[in-house]
Each structure stands twice: as C-alpha cells, then as structure tokens.
Amino acid sequence: MELTVQDIVTWIEKANEKMQANKEYLTTLDQEIGDGDHGINMARGFQEAAAKLADNDYPDAEAVLKDTAMTLMSKIGGASGPLFGTAFLKMSVASKEAETLDYETFKHGLKEAVEGIKQRGKATEGEKTLVDVWAKMADLFNKETDFSADKIADEANDAMEQTKDMMATKGRASYFKERSIGHIDPGSASSQYIFTALAEVIGGKL
C-alpha cells in the first residue's frame, strides 16, 4: 500500500472540500474559544493549496508535499498556518525524492511532522491544540502495519473529541482557562478533516 503523487493531490483536494464545507463550523468553534477566523484561514489556505497542486505536475511525493507546505504556510496565516505548513514540510523532507510514499516513509514523515509541530508551537499533548490529533495519528500509524481507512477516520475523530474535555494551555484558547473546557479545539477539528480526507483516499484504493 502506498500513496502516489496523484493520491496526495486527491488528499489535499478532499481536505479542501471539507474545509470549504465546514468553514463556518470551524469559525464558530474559534469564536467560542478564539478569535473567530480559523475556518476562514483553513478554507483560504486549502483552497490555494488545492489550486496550486491542480495547476502543476509533480515528479515525486517530496515535491507535491513541499508545494502543499509552502502554500499552507503562506496562505493560512495565524497560529495554525506555520504549524500546518511545518507538518507538510517535515513530511516532504522525510520522503526525500521518493516517487510514491510507502507505508514506512509516510509513518516516518508523520512522526517528523508531529515533532516539528511540537517544537514550533512549544506545545505537547494534552494542551488542547492540533498536536492532540496529529500525535494520536502518528501513534496509530506507528502501531499498525498498514493503512486502514476506517481506523484512521475513527481515531482522528476520537482524538478531536477528546480535546473537548481538555483545558487549553497554549494558543488563544488558553486565555479562557477553565472556560475553554467543553469546546472542541478548532485546530484539532480541522486536523481531523485532513485525516478523514486521507482515510477516504486510502479507502478508495483498498
């Protein structure tokens, strides 16, 4: 099982569809414990990334992931832009000129992505940030021996849901202290869409 360049393009396309469809929902989440721009940011960033990928031909996974990273980094903005950008950039670097992404390479890339996010954001698990979804996904891939569409989607959803009970200690939501409890973290919700999109790509191939 592996992801081709086209699979990655489809992944980003599907992620973009979800960001557009849930733009208002994500913004509402961010209005509750942030500043109300997360849906707008993600919709803008993924729109641009999908458009960029559609306009270009890519020789390998590294290249398509790099363009994704750079576009997200420059078009999302806010706290989440550099973090999502970093995630895809780390995946790009980890796939060093691999034409397609096999399981081991992707798993390694995801681990690097989580490290990159944590380092950049100075955050760790349990702080009610997108780290909570990304770290859980890296764990899942680490434990499994191949891609499983359903498990990916379920786990991403669980990880997102778990942020609800957390108290935010990083990012804008941390100003709300105890009052941040009871709300899903917006960045975790958008991350969940990214992994659900991935699950759909994988599911379509199985």
Binding site: T27, D35, G77, G78, G81, R172, Y175
Partner: protein, 326 residues
C-alpha cells in the same frame, strides 16, 4: 452586519490600496505583498524597525510607518497573523544593512510567523533582533500575556532609537526596557464582527461589560454589570498598578477599541490622572485616542509606561506618521 465594505474577503487588500492612495507621499506598498513601507525605505546604515500582525487593529500598524517610528508594517488578514513570507518581505523592505528589529505582539500566531520569517531572513544574511510585547495584565502568566495598546509605545521607542542611529543591540535594549516597564489592561462593552465571519465573536448582555478582554475578543477576567466610568478607570488602573511599581514618572495611554467616542476616553482619563496623582506618580505625557483598535468593538484600555531619561527622550523625539506625530 453593518459594514462599509465590498467583498468581505478583500477588505485588507482594499484597505491597503486606500491607505496608499491617501499617503502616497509618505508610504509605499511593496508590490505583491501586504507590506507598507516608508516611501524612502530602506535607509542605508539605519536599523530598520518593523511590526505587524492581523488586520482590524487600525491605525496599527501601517499608520505608524514613517520617520521616527516604523520602516515597514506587514498586515495579515483580519485578526490573522501574516505568514512568514510576508513578514520576510517587510524585513527586506526595512533592511538598510544595519539589521532589522521586529516588534511582535505576544500571540502564538504572531510569534510563530515572525520567528519563522526571522530565520528565513537570517538565512539570507540579514541581522534580526526582536521584542515580544506582553503588556496585558489581564493574563496572569507573564509569558502568556498578550500584546495590546502598549505596543505603540514600543514602536515609538524602538523607532526613535533607530532614528538616532542606535545599533541593533541598542534598539533592542531600549525596546526591552519599554516592554519591561509597561503594563496595560482593557475592557469591552460590545463585540466586533470579523467581516468574513459575518457574526460577532462573542455576546455581552445589554448591561454587561467584560474586564480584561483581548483585542480580538479573547476572554477577560470577569464579566459584570456596567459601572460608572470612574469605577472602570479605577479597576483598570488598579490592575496595572498592582502588577508593577510605577513610582516615579510615567507615560499614560487611554486607548479606544474602535467605537468608544473620544469623549468617553477623556472621561476615563480624568479619573486615571486623579488616581495617579494620588499615588504620587508623575504623568510625563498622556495619549488619548484610538491607537490600537479591535474593529468596531466598544471599550478602552489603560497603559502605563514607567519612564527614565532615555525613554523620555525617545518618546519626545520627532515622529511623523499618519497616526502618530510628535
């Protein structure tokens, strides 16, 4: 949503063009970016000073671009930090060879994006230093404190030091001193609407206000019934004074968040001044107006900056920008 705009997704673009059209003798836009720079930037041999952040805080930050303050300002979307590539453009626009100083407000987004831009600039051989403004005492933990209206004092101090020929290290030392000697506290009575979102980010009851709220409507300390201006002024000033010893001379800023009439800002100032007089704090200079806003939010903040001779000189130094003159 009662706004005078065209496409809600184009507000920053439209505003930037309108701003350049108004101030073409003083400002220029770095083409293809949201960076506004002094018309004659970069200035060879002078330390460049830049700032920026999400839009919606006008006149911050492009309104402070001009002689004696910022060399360039970079604007993100409304309430959204600009991306590293944009910040990098601002750094380049300000770089006259003596290095560039970054005034960053302490929000995760601003810090991350400016830091990444600084790394990129350093990779290109530009010397970069920074200060992270965290004047908002509404947040307990100093490392998490937000940057609010006091940021304008930091623009002024860093800008003046650079204008005087200060080195990158000297500019940083002056800016650090300003940040360390400054505290702010704000309150709001009504929310604001991010144009692309179309609805207010929070709600306050007809008789409610929130003390300690952030400039994007982030949570404050306490939501309570609206009281008299004197009580509000007392509460904001007390919070500021309880956090730092301002004995001596200080500069005061009463900042309006967008919809609060200047009349009310002056009413708040009256009380703030009398509190400071009682405490034996000598007010060297007072600034009342809309310096760092939050779209059409109703509310205000009180900032105190403790002064020594150097800071006084830097505050008094000539500055000529669309939004700040001295």
């Amino acid at each position: 949503m009662k706004k005078i705009i065209n496409d809600p997704n184009e507000v920053v673009h439209d505003m930037t063009e309108g701003m350049i059209a108004a101030h073409s003798d003083e400002l220029k836009q770095i083409s293809g970016t949201t960076v506004i720079a002094k018309v004659n930037a970069p200035i060879s041999g002078k330390v460049g000073v830049i700032s920026g952040g999400g839009s919606g805080h006008e006149p911050a930050h492009a309104g402070y671009v001009g002689n004696g303050m910022l060399d360039a300002a970079v604007a993100g979307e409304v309430f959204t930090s600009p991306a590293p590539d944009q910040v990098l453009e601002a750094i380049k626009a300000a770089d006259g060879g003596a290095g560039v100083f970054l005034v960053i407000k302490n929000y995760t987004g601003d810090v991350l994006n400016f830091e990444m831009a600084a790394e990129l600039a350093e990779a290109e051989g530009i010397k970069v230093e920074k200060v992270v403004v965290n004047d908002d005492v509404a947040v307990d933990d100093p490392s998490s404190r937000r940057g609010i209206a006091g940021t304008i004092f930091v623009h002024k101090v860093a800008g003046a030091k650079a204008e005087q020929g200060g080195s990158l290290e000297e500019v940083k030392a002056a800016a650090d001193k300003a940040v360390n000697n400054m505290r702010s506290m704000g309150m709001a009575m009504t929310p604001c609407i991010v144009p692309a979102a179309g609805s207010p980010s929070f709600q306050l009851g007809e008789n409610e206000m929130e003390i300690g709220i952030g400039i994007h409507g982030e949570s404050g300390i306490e939501r309570k019934e609206i009281t008299a201006a004197d009580d509000i002024a007392q509460e904001l000033t007390d919070r500021v004074l309880n956090d730092f010893d301002f004995t001596g001379e200080a500069a005061v800023m009463i900042n309006g968040l967008g919809s609060t009439p200047e009349m009310e800002l002056y009413i708040v100032n009256k009380k703030v001044q009398s509190i400071l007089a009682e405490k034996g704090i000598t007010v060297y200079k007072t600034f009342v107006g809309e310096y760092l806003t939050s779209l059409e939010m109703t509310g205000c903040s009180v900032t105190l900056l403790k002064l020594d001779d150097e800071l006084k000189t830097l505050l008094d130094a000539r500055a000529q920008t669309p939004a700040f003159h001295s």
